[in-house]
């Protein structure tokens, strides 16, 4: 883990309110594994004060790391105005990432909205042209274009809630069809809490392994402040997990989905 005053290589809008940023940080890039995250300092001043966490979307052999982020508040708005050549303080890689599938397991990747970012990193690591990767969005205009981010042989199947593009329905419905009667699958998920809860309960019920990446407001990112906790399931000795240190990736059965 390093704190790096990294140079921005590009920062471009790829969809309305969606940005794709690349920074040069060889140390973080060489250490990072899929599902881990980095924390960006969005202002060199004192407001906004806290760093912002982002899943790593991709690392390239040239020492760069990419993130895809949504402009939702003042912090990400400031970030969206950063330009090539600017320096930004980046800390990482942080947290526990996805555990890669065993030889006898068939991975299935499922994302909702922005949750696609860490799964792109995972898909590249799995590196299988036959990989099942399904991504859900609310509507066609919210689809995150991945043409310049993903390897060309990666085939992402799109679902939209309103049917304006691809499969008509929730990505979790699509997932249900994919995993039906397939106990050898391992599901990797990232997205909004509602979608993750549905995914978790479905996989737990059918005895399918599932790893989810969770999001939380964070202060330190290092496990010190304990501000980012999520409730642990009853069979875990702890009441809460720190998303930053114990996660952000968890086995779905370790989380108390009712309490989340």
């Amino acid at each position: 883990m390093t704190e790096d005053n990294a140079r921005i290589i590009f920062n471009r809008q790829i969809a309305p309110k969606i940005m794709h940023m690349g920074v040069f940080s060889p140390e973080i890039a060489s250490e990072a594994s899929p599902g881990q995250f980095v924390m960006f300092r969005v202002s060199s001043g004192r407001d906004p004060l806290l760093r912002r966490p982002f899943s790593i979307c991709r690392t390239l052999g040239d020492g760069s790391i990419d993130i895809v982020y949504s402009v939702v508040g003042r912090g990400t708005d400031l970030m969206s105005h950063m330009v090539k050549g600017d320096r930004v303080s980046v800390m990482g890689p942080l947290g526990q990432g996805y555990r890669l599938p065993d030889e006898n397991q068939t991975p299935v990747l499922v994302s909702g909205g922005m949750g696609i970012a860490p799964l792109i990193f995972l898909a590249h690591a799995i590196n299988d042209p036959g990989l099942t990767f399904i991504a859900g969005f609310s509507t066609a205009s919210k689809i995150i274009p991945t043409d310049n981010i993903c390897h060309s042989d990666l085939n992402i199947k799109i679902a939209t809630d309103d049917g304006s593009y691809g499969y008509h329905g929730f990505v979790t419905d699509l997932l249900a069809n994919v995993i039906k009667g397939r106990n050898d699958t391992v599901v990797y998920a990232c997205g909004p809490v509602g979608m993750l809860r549905k995914t978790a309960l479905m996989t737990i019920r059918s005895g399918v392994d599932c790893q989810v990446s969770l999001e939380s407001t964070m202060a330190c990112g290092l496990g010190a402040c304990q501000g980012c906790v999520v409730p642990a399931s009853q069979d875990v000795a702890l009441a809460y997990f720190n998303v930053c240190k114990d996660g952000p990736v968890f086995f779905a059965n370790r989380i108390d989905w009712k309490g989340l």
């Binding site: 004192r46 806290l50 800390m91 202060a219 330190c220 990112g221 010190a224 309490g259």
Partner: protein, 308 residues
Amino acid sequence: MSMPDLAVSVGPLKLKNPVLAASGTFGYGEEFSEIVSPDLLGGIVVKGLSLRPMPGNPPPRIVETPCGMLNAIGLANVGLDAFVRDKLPYLERLDTAVIVNIYGHTIHEYGAVARGLRGIDAISALEVNVSCPNVESGGLAFGTDPDVSAQVTEAVAREADKPVIVKLSPNVTDITSVAIAVERAGADIVSLINTLTGMSIDIEQRIPQLANITGGLSGPAIRPVALYMVYRVVRAVHIPVIGIGGIMDYKDALEFLIAGAKAVQVGTANFVDPGVCMKIIGGLTDFLKNHEINCIDEIIGSLNDRMA
């Protein structure tokens, strides 16, 4: 000129420099070890410790506010036994002052934690958090009442074999009356301020941002308030004062030292920049060099009081 001397004596507590990491913002030291060696700090104040393990509050526990943040962690910690078994071995290897922040839900519990930490050489001092709710008197914080604060201080001082620091709450009418009360009750040092109670509301859902409704405000937003309280307490008691509240850089630290604090604690800034304590120590060193001051002691309490 030679390297300026940053060592300070905070009453019975000897520190290699006046910069401490504040409780709850530096974990048990290990969390930050990849970025900063705790050995270079004046000391670390570890996470608030209670007799039994505490899970803490439900989330959301934190929310960002202008130039600061609110937290309602709920004093989550591993409890006395697990602290001694799992956390102490790392702390024992450090070459810095290790201060254990303690709290209880009853006055008796405060004493029990202090007793449980007796005879541990690696611990340099205890810091008593009196801002915790008193379950025996309807959940009002111990630290809001000078007499109750004094009773807590007495209970800890009776059991402790280390210097006792009492960390004062700013959520009182007159912080000097609490400071005087704990001094009389046997506190060796006071540290201040703890967080200021605040809240924040989500206007779309019309619910408090924190599950606990209220939280403690920290960060640069509170620094002027903290500085004023330190300024007043320094003039009200004879025991040394440790300044805390929104310190982000060496200039902020100097304000507290000039006002009379013998040392400072850096809290929320560690979240923004885990290496900040080192930068503050470096900044203090350079400041002394540039001003041809040999020793940080010459700075402490050097305020030219306009009122005087």
